[in-house]
Symmetry: C2
Subunit: 173 residues, 2 copies
Amino acid sequence: MNLRDHIRDVPDFPKKGILFKDITTLLGNEPAFRQAVKAMCDPFRNTSIDKIACIESRGFIFGAPMSLELGIGIVPLRKPGKLPAKTVREEYDLEYGTDALEMHVDAFQKGERILIVDDLLATGGTAAASAYLIEKAGGEVVSFVFLLELAFLNGREKLGGRECLSIIRYDDD
Amino acid sequence: MNLRDHIRDVPDFPKKGILFKDITTLLGNEPAFRQAVKAMCDPFRNTSIDKIACIESRGFIFGAPMSLELGIGIVPLRKPGKLPAKTVREEYDLEYGTDALEMHVDAFQKGERILIVDDLLATGGTAAASAYLIEKAGGEVVSFVFLLELAFLNGREKLGGRECLSIIRYDDD
């Protein structure tokens, strides 16, 4: 099975001229979704990892089944105001304005090794913020893993040389 | 293992006087998370289900691993403006104002049998909206399943007699 065949192109979303890579068609096909999760887990089966950090909200869709596949607990990185206990916060720039990610300060112990999961690496702003957040809380980022990478947006350049894997790479927009 | 022991009480969230049931402590403990997902799947192993609908965003955390455990694809029910293709929409009342859920119109075929998944049944507004949305698109709601139920909020009364299961029930606030 070629996972690319299960990703749908939707033109002009979120705005005119953007060709959006829609993963909902993959999610609706369980064998394709299973293969995607397996492909995201395979590089890490012999890696020492203490927690899987998943970025709200599509990161939850991949990080949660990876948790059970690898036997490692998850840490949700959430939009502001969603987590009930004491949090640490990292702001990042959007095209217009700023956004932020929050994480519980007790989500892991200092020195723990963290794998960061999201569905998509685009410009890299959210991914970079998630690494800063984890490192601010004393964690070590083992790697990022994404199902999709829009390589033409050069998001990797924002990740400061940290290990970064993606399963499906698009080289042209 | 008693799953209740892995749920943390956080006082005064989201506002003073509310005792919030925090699942992040369960998510960080993989054996507890695994047992929770298994408990949510067990009642449905011999049920005919075509798709699992997961409510954004904590519903994704349970619906996604249930998909792989039961071998059934997922349909994300999302906050407005997140889904790229043509959607159907259902609004619902909040304490102040309204919110809405959206779903791709082609997320399933008419007549398909849908299991609705979320982490928490509270007042039932979001859950009821998710059922209306699925039925508007021609689906049949087989059941709801929640990890937690705040039974004292009587959310079940909003679900119109549709089947509804929860794993951990709190009878007092």
